[in-house]
Symmetry: C2
Subunit: 376 residues, 2 copies
């Protein structure tokens, strides 16, 4: 019989968990992640709702009502009060659902979509899942999608085009207005992946990515990234409830009769934590957090440029990449306890300045980077 | 500007959450759900890992190690020590991934699968997502899949067959041995949906559903159901790592280079809570919980039968359904604060006896049911 047959005392198990937890890297030296420590109120809200299951909303009418209230707030934030949607496991589920809804609206199992070359790798999963062709449009010199190239790739089989509001690599924002024009002219579904940018751009007074732009049919934005909610918390939002309808299946043994989510059982924690942060901080509080991230980003950019590294683009949000011998630099930084990631085109290290990265930590990072550059 | 522009004090927000939470139905009177209160140690473990993101495992090597240890325990529980797999958002993700892996192994975007008529509605989502034909095999008089019917439906285009270990409606277990024989003879992928039964059957000394059966290629089992873990926690398990390989996409900007999960960002909480429960209770402790659920199930069955209602099948696990004017009975029970669900073939009310349902609650339920039956 196996070793855990008789079980272990609670304290021994919790001690084992603590020991493993202590191996995880604290965020304070992480510049590679689009996640961060959840806000304290997010943790409090999360713990309250730890038992709730939105997969069976009739049992949890209070949690279901909370999700409705959150959707109203997100509608206000993203430019259309009466959005359809739900809180998902994150941006990948949202991207899957948006493209699936677009395909189902056209009642076809065929076709293609056009995404920017800078699209997140979740579109590779979508290609495989849905068995569709995912065409990649090139980028312009500022690493925004080349609208001419999107237009060139669209054909009779195309059912959707995608724009990114906050690319994973550079934090760049595509010209959603131009994509919208193209979508409307060609009767295409336009999906906006704002998984990262959704909780950054509105606080920088940039709304040229959301439902204020007419052609935008769906948008994903992740509270568990810059929304400082707990994981998992992603918002998948549609301009019209007809898009949810085409995702529905019948659910005979639940309190509801239909389900349009990708997953079945679904935590209420992401709803509670996202709601709590937005409601507590308000637009003004969120703006403060975002502006502070932007301030540290600017400092980091100037300091690293003074070391002789060039930023790939002037930061649009709290992401900045520096051209260098990236793999080597990354590895040396890692040895010294700092985590950045790499991008490939152009070869550069990538720094995401999340709320956990203070100004003094950023300056400490620059010192270490200086040593690394000298040592190479 | 919208109402939450300036934000609200923490206490006011938390009070609003409490008010909504109090509208949720307590599990103590719920017989319709396959979820339950998480075990106290699950909650403690969950809270410890509330910040961890297994979508980026290089940042969380401790949490990643914990997932490995959990997979070893699950391997021991399910009859093969060196399983491949991961902890997912739940059974639906697991079913999607298993069928997707089966399809990808055959390098085709076409084909069909054969599932029992009793399969969970997640297979409707899979049909839509993957654009495959999902053929439904009939059931025998005990509501197990009819093996002859499965055989009849299999053709050259079939790439997988599915067996259920613990059907959602009746808790019935298909003849996985016979399906295994069929799968091996026809060179088919066999997936077992043990989302519910996975954490019941081994503790009833029934292992004729897992990797001990040669033809079983994949299995899902949900710790967030009878494993008493927190939501979300689902295990998707493969006999061989080659099945994970065909699900992988490249992940350029993470600490890992490939990702085989369906979602991207992924909580560590489900790993921690599932591990803590299994390790703390051990096989023996889990068995106690399951046997107590079975004891209450048996009492409920006898008491309700004494009211003149017939059980659809003799309970195989902690699920029992009673033939009656189900929609009406369900509605009347709901008015009196008790929740059951309905099944359609045959028309019956369905009771799932989870660990939250005590013997005295079950007897109280029987009293209320008696009143309802008299009132009709």
């Amino acid at each position: 019989m196996f070793e855990w047959f008789k079980g272990y005392e609670e304290n021994r198990v919790l001690k084992e968990l603590e020991d493993l937890l202590s191996m995880d890297i604290p965020y304070s030296r992480v510049l590679s992640s689009m996640c961060t420590y959840p806000h304290p109120i997010a943790v409090k809200a999360h713990i309250k709702f730890i038992r709730s299951n939105l997969g069976d909303p009739g049992l949890f009418p209070g949690t279901a009502e909370l999700e409705k209230r959150l959707l109203v707030m997100l509608g206000e934030l993203f430019g259309k009060r009466d959005l359809a949607g739900y809180i998902s496991s994150g941006g990948t589920e949202g991207n899957i659902q948006a493209i699936r809804a677009a395909r189902n609206m056209l009642c076809t199992c065929r076709g293609n979509i056009v995404v920017p070359e800078s699209a997140h790798f979740s579109f590779l999963k979508i290609k495989d899942l849905l068995g569709i062709d995912v065409r990649k449009a090139g980028l312009d010199e500022e690493y925004r999608v080349d609208i001419g190239d999107v237009e060139r790739l669209v054909d009779d089989e195309t059912f959707a085009i995608v724009g990114i509001a906050g690319t994973t690599e550079l934090g760049q924002v595509d010209d959603i207005k131009a994509l919208s024009k193209l979508a409307i002219e060609n009767n295409l579904f336009l999906h906006v992946d704002a998984a990262f940018g959704g909780f950054v751009l509105p606080f920088l007074n940039n709304n040229e990515f959301n439902f204020r732009i007419k052609g935008v049919c769906s948008l994903v934005a992740d509270p568990h990234k810059m929304g400082m909610a707990t994981i998992p918390s992603g918002a998948v939002l549609f301009r019209d409830s007809k898009y949810l309808e085409v995702l529905s299946v019948e659910t005979p043994y639940l309190t509801s009769s239909k389900q349009f989510t990708l997953t079945g059982t679904r935590p209420g924690t992401g709803v509670a934590s996202a709601y709590a942060v937005l409601k507590h901080l308000g637009f003004e509080g969120m703006k403060k957090v975002v502006l502070e991230c932007m301030r540290v980003t600017q400092i980091l950019k100037e300091e690293v440029e003074s070391l002789g590294l060039e930023a790939v683009i002037d930061p649009v949000m709290n992401v900045v990449c520096f051209k260098c011998n990236a793999r080597k630099v990354r590895e040396e930084l890692m040895k010294r306890g700092w985590v950045v990631s790499c991008i490939r085109k152009p070869e550069a290290i990538r720094c995401v300045i999340m709320p956990h990265l203070t100004e003094s930590a950023a300056l400490e990072f620059v010192k270490v980077l200086k040593n690394v550059l000298h040592s190479l």
